[in-house]
């Protein structure tokens, strides 16, 4: 049986410190001023009734992935576990996928001249039974990662305990990333 990977992002625990973003840069040599992963924060409301939303911005690993279906050279593809990857050898940087991605997760790496995005650290870590680096480094344990087919996994247990939000669920892309929305403070 293939893996049913899931990455959970807990907005309650995330403090927007960008440790995940820097660790991702180190792990993948992401070039200056580009990001595979960022946490964006947005202040909402009017003084003194304020709230802050925290949002993880990165590839959400769609099951029904627009970037894969628009790719003319099959550079964007899904592996046996449904993870979306980019075959750098055949990417022609036509940017179709960048336009098609509703999550703004892709960019052109100017050093390599190929499209790049988060790959859940598949090659460097997950395939070696390590956690993605953002999950491992997070100072506040706001990220969880695991296999939904394993019923004793933290992601399985949390997914069945908490109300999850799938980003832009209305687009029916069926992401493997889900958010735990915030419980305290002003609702955004």
């Amino acid at each position: 049986m293939g893996k049913a990977y899931r990455l959970l992002y807990d907005e309650n625990a995330c403090i927007g410190c960008q440790a995940c973003s820097v660790a991702c840069r180190v792990e993948h040599g992401v070039p200056e001023d580009f990001f595979r992963l960022q946490v964006r924060m947005e202040l909402k409301g009017v003084f003194p009734r304020l709230g802050m939303s925290y949002e993880r911005m990165a590839c959400v690993m769609c099951e029904d992935a627009p970037c894969v279906s628009v790719c003319p050279t099959f550079a964007s593809f899904q592996d046996k576990d449904g993870l979306v990857h980019i075959d750098e050898r055949v990417c022609i940087t036509c940017k179709y996928c960048i336009l098609a991605c509703p999550y703004h997760a892709r960019f052109i790496n100017p050093l390599k001249n190929v499209v790049e995005k988060c790959d859940f650290c598949y090659e460097s870590r997950v395939s070696k039974a390590l956690l993605p680096v953002c999950v491992s480094i997070c100072p506040t344990e706001a990220l969880m990662f695991g296999d939904m087919n394993e019923h004793d996994s933290l992601v399985y247990e949390t997914s069945h305990k908490e109300a999850l939000i799938f980003p832009k669920a209305h687009l029916k892309t069926k992401p493997k990333v889900a958010f735990l929305p915030k419980r305290k403070g002003m609702k955004s």
């Binding site: 410190c17 202040l43 003084f47 304020l50 802050m52 480094i137 997070c138 100072p139």
Partner: protein
Amino acid sequence: MLFAQNRRDFLKIATATPFVPGSLGAMGELALCCEDKSIRSMCEMCSSRCPMEARVVNGKVVALQGNAYDKAMGTSLCARGVAGISQLYDEQRLTQPLIRVGKRGENKWRVVSLEEALEYIATKLNHLKKTYGARSVIFSSKTGESYDMLRSFAYAFGSPNVFSHWSSCPIAIESAFEHTVGETMHRDFENANYILNFGHNLFEGLDIPLTKAMARFASNPSKKLVVFDPRFSLMASKANEWYPIKAGSDLAFVLSLLHVWIRDGKYDKNFVQHYTIGFDKLEKALKESTPQWQERLTGIEAKVVERIADEVYQAAPRCIIDWGHKATTAPSEYQRSRAILIANILMGNVEKRGGIYFPKSAKCINAISFDEIIPTLNEAYPRIFPNEERLDGAGQHGSYVFVPKEHGVLQAIPEAILSQEPYTIKGWFLTRHNPLITLAHPQKMKEAMQNLEFIVVNDIYLSDTAMMADVVLPEATYLERDEGIRDQSDKVPCYTMRNRVIPSLHGTKSALEILRSLAQKLGVDHNYRWDTMAKLRVHQAKGNDAFLEVLLRRGVATFGIPELFLRESKDVERFVEHYPKSKALLCKEGCFSHFFHTLQTPSGKIEIFCEKVEKIFEGYGLPCAVDMDVTQGYPYVLTSGKSAIHTNGHTHNVPYLHQLMSDNPIWMHPQTAKVHGLKMGDTFYVENGISKEKATVFITEGIRPDTLFAYMGFGRDAPSLKRAHGKGLNPSKLLSLRSAPVCGSMITNVGVKITKV
């Protein structure tokens, strides 16, 4: 004791062969010859000293993460910690010693060898000593290993004028501890049920174990966090309630909280009666500090105080009134810190889970167990205070008599240099210290520095302060140096050790090595029992090589001691089971309460009233409503604080961090911006009697209309910091060198006006 023969064997391992502690090695595989290894050490991208692990592949550091041998860390590390790699390999780092050739501050240098630099320093220091006396040389450092060594060096040289960063950071709360309970206390955030937070921004001033505990607390829907801060900080965004309290007025809120508890008899009467002195005086002193009284000062409604007072009391003792870390807000800082500490004491949360506690060091645990179960350290940095008057009188006489003489008051330095009072000051040796960014009124400090004959700066970058030096020593970064063993005990005894991750890239040395060589050159090293890092460690560990091996392999040593809160009977019961001799200390409630009769205060008890302070500073022996004004008649208050991306005066030029945050536009409420006709990104002047500085505006709802906010550490004036140079505002430039009464703390909330460019 394995001392005699094994010591030699140990030295062989530690100095001759590349001893590689690592995960693979720990698993017993053939890791020692492998190109891919992990080394556990300690971070230094800020001052939190988080245990960390470096992965080194073919001699290159490829990743940094938390050291999971420390359970409170796991593999977590913050952005700054992870970015340590980009600091290590930054081509803008200092790599060679420099001697000034132009005018002071002109940035003209001659590259010299380390040997030449050290010879030159030794000659100049000897000259100053002969001409003006050893006390004419100041020594300053951020606390830590380099500070311990610098203090030892300075005292051996003969100067009493040692300064740490304390007066610009935690000195108010440290004084409050000393005067109230006799030693530093910690907070058990994770197990608390209710926390009142007065601007202690653990989500931007990160310390991984503390931040993690606070995040677990704050994200738990059954717990309550109330934040008081003029600014909507990230902490505030995670709170159940946020009150935009007026800058400088925390003290008024806490006093009225105390008033309500005492008025209603809602405090731990048993604890107060048995273990404290001076409660009756407090009761009288707070008669007028009503919730209505504080409304005008804090801007918080009286009914909020009443409700919160009741909620905290209901949660007690699993509640914390949090005192913060860098507590330099207002002139009332000493009173504020004392009032907060006393609020905790009234709630009876001392030595309770989810409350506040004394760190359980080896000495403490050994004393309770009547046994030597945890190794203790030999002193590696001998320090005999020279019988001399300090330039600020710290710990001796005058306004700073209650400031520890080991730490001093940095704000007193410029005036002492310029006036030559109480005596001539002609030299300054700084290591890991950048006062031209982190200290009030750098303009005045620069002027004072121009009057010095000799300045040495040891740093990894050619910082703003290094620019003013005669000799700049390039330090090895924390990833390139070995250090001694450090006591980092918290809930349980714990030692950590910084282990070199890779050999120094540019042949640079550590502050410890540099100062040890200098001590030898000056002939003041006869008290040191070591001359290399390996020998220093062996000396500290008393030759216990099993203990040292754990620290070499794991970077952290704990000893399987169960958590012990002295007033939690279950903890005490378990401890007595493990260590039966400790039974002798049991009180009738089944706790170790004897401890509260033998505190290091004059009375041995918790001192709500502090007689020795009252004698010299009349009215300051009890918390009372003083020194809360931070406006000095100006319409706005400029405040400053930390971010999760940068550290004080240190990281702003580190490539990965500069990329994330390169500037600090000043936070301003839209209403205020409108009054002054400012739009997002406009430039304006922020001005007071001390300076007039150009800044750009960041308009946000997240701040009081009468308050401005700047992230600290920006506005660098050092061309060698090519990325950070000239970006943003250094808020220190608007601060006065005035200090808070009693504790000598710098004051970072300051009155300003806004004028258009």
